[in-house]
Structure formats: C-alpha cells, structure tokens
Subunit: 201 residues, 2 copies
C-alpha cells in the first residue's frame, strides 16, 4: 500500500496549507495519508532555541508571514490572520488529535484547528475553542478532552516526539514515505507523493 | 520585460541545482534571469552564527546532504560530492563572478564553480581552480583575477550584500521578481517564475 506519514505541528504556519491540500493530492495518486501530530518544541529546545526560529530571525520571520499569506491566497484559503501569541501553545490540540484514533476524523479535526488558529486567530490552547471544534464535527467533546488529558494520551504524545526525533525530523511539516525518505516543508509534498508513487507498490 | 533576479551564494548547496536549472525554466516562460552573486556570511553573522546552520543543527544538516544528493540525482546532475571544509570560503568566486559583467558569461562561470565545488569537491577558494574554470570558458583568467581583487570589485560585492539585506534576503538561493516579491529556496523557483509571468508584462 502506498502510504505517506504526514508529521505536523499545530503551532506551525506551513503545516496549515499542507493539511489543507494533502488529501486531495494523495487521492489523485492513490496514496494513503497517515496523520502524525507531534510537538516540535522539545526538538528545537535542544538547539538552545526558546521560541520559533521565525521570531529569532527577523528577516526570515518577515518573509514567512508574507509567504504564508501569499500561499493561502493562491490556494483559495481564507486570508491569513496571525495568532497572538505566536507560536501558539499546541500541547492541548496535539493531545486531542492523538486521542482521535480514526485518521479521517483526526484529519478533519486538525484542519479545523489550523483554520481556527490561522484564519480566525483563535487561541488553540483554550479548551473552549477545542471543544467548539469537536462539537461542530459531531465528536463528543467532554469525553475526548478527558481522554486527551489522561496518562495514556500523554504517553502517546511523548512517544510521537521520540519517534519524530529518531526519524531525523527537525521541522514541520515533514512527509515520510513508506521507505522512510524524509521531505521537509509544504513545498516538498509533491516530491514525497511522487517518491512514494514511483516505488510502484 | 519579465525579469527575475537570481540571488545566489557560492557556498550554498541548494544554489547549485538552482543555477543548473534556472535558465531552462526561464526560457520556457520568456523570463530573463539576472545573476546576482552575494555573500550570505555577513548576514548570518548578525544572527550570531559562526558557520552554516546546516553545521549547527545536526538533523537539518543530515537531511540537507541527503536531500541535495537526491535532488542532483533526480535532475541528472553528477553525483554530489561534499566539499571540505563546508561551507567553502566563497569570497574569491563571488568577486570573480561580479567582475564578469555579461550575464550569460557570469552564468556559465557560476555553474562551473558550483560543479567544481559540489561534483568534484574542489576548493573554490583556490585561485588555480578559479583560473582553470575561466580558462576553460575562454575568459582571460589573469586579467579577471586582477580585476576581481581590485577595490572596484570589492566595493561592488559590499554593495551586493547591502542590497540583499535591504531586500530582506536571509538565505540562498532567493529569487526576486521585478515587483520585488521574494521566493526563498530552490523549491520556489517555479513559484517566482509563475509570479513574474502572471504579472502579464
């Protein structure tokens, strides 16, 4: 089976357009997407970085905000709104996403979180925002939020971060093919799908 | 006239495949490329970085070398060889490139430098290597090396770096359209050309 693992971080701006377009592209090529939320913070912290590199490098940050806005516009997504603070605390959203076992429901939830964050500038650390998204998707929010806060989900997320590190992931989004080729960045989604497709599985 | 400025740094790995493919893509779309060598070092130094971010971040560096090798292979370029040291000192090559006023000759020289560096692992700081490239291109090397070391060329290069900074450039390659839209990275070359073309000039 053709499969690409989609590693995304809810605080990551470029994960937003990637989440919005990945299923359509995968469908065309008969590739199944496995949605893999993780936290980039613990990985960046090891580099001595206390915040996003986009905050630390001003020219790069200026470019990124302009480029993501331009990307959303060219894709027909709602106009980009910058969440405050940036980066958002993505712990709650990542735990909730992991607590949704079904890939297609997890994908729906994840896209909705990105839209709340980057099209409405909502605070995705707010349990009410997350509950509102779950309710609109018809997922029982009280149950899920409780499960997301349980030790099982916390362990799952820690294991995700460890797995990301072991794969050599250092940024988001990253696409990993079934033979563990890494493709980093929204721009490389086509490359990852092509690589997986050319495996002729 | 449709024009894209191609800002490249001779020490930059991703500038190599960009240099190899930019003219072909530009030709298809009727876009003229202006070759703009510059130095990234002085810009990165302001961030407190003493060397390439690919050396400072191990996972990112590992990914980059694998990705550039894969990119060269998919493009049909010679197999990537890692120059030692990395990054190479690119001052001499940048000065010589600037001392060649003709865009098409400058492009030929620049592509040859990238090939010497990343396909043959030659030291591009070595005047003999640079002279050899010039001789093979039929450019009088003694004259040009003298001009490259003169104060006029040194001033030109300092002005290039200042202009890059003013444009908001923080990495290489960067493509700048005639209305000063920036596109960073080899992956964004198509985006830059499409942007310039859609201007319908």
């Amino acid at each position: 089976m053709r499969r690409v693992d989609f590693w995304y971080e809810f605080a990551s701006t470029y994960s937003h357009p990637a989440a919005a377009r990945i299923e359509e592209l995968a469908d065309i090529h008969g590739v199944t997407i496995s949605w893999q939320p993780f936290l980039l913070g613990p990985i960046l912290k090891q580099l001595g970085w206390s915040t996003s590199p986009f905050n630390l490098q001003h020219a790069k940050g200026r470019y990124m905000w302009h480029d993501v806005a331009r990307t959303c516009q060219l894709m027909g997504l709602p106009p980009l709104k910058r969440p405050v603070p940036f980066p958002q605390n993505s712990l709650l959203a990542a735990r909730v996403a992991l607590a949704i076992p079904d890939d297609s429901r997890r994908a729906q939830f994840s896209r909705s979180v990105f839209c709340a964050e980057f099209a409405e500038a909502s605070n995705i650390d707010d349990p009410n925002v997350i509950a509102g998204i779950l309710d609109r998707l018809g997922i029982p929010s009280a149950d899920l939020l409780e499960r997301a806060g349980g030790s099982e989900t916390k362990d799952l997320l820690r294991a995700q971060v460890a797995r990301a590190e072991k794969l050599g992931i250092f940024g988001a989004p990253t696409f990993v093919t079934s033979d563990e080729e890494l493709f980093w960045g929204n721009d490389r989604l086509e490359g990852a799908v092509r690589w997986e497709t050319n495996n002729c599985k």
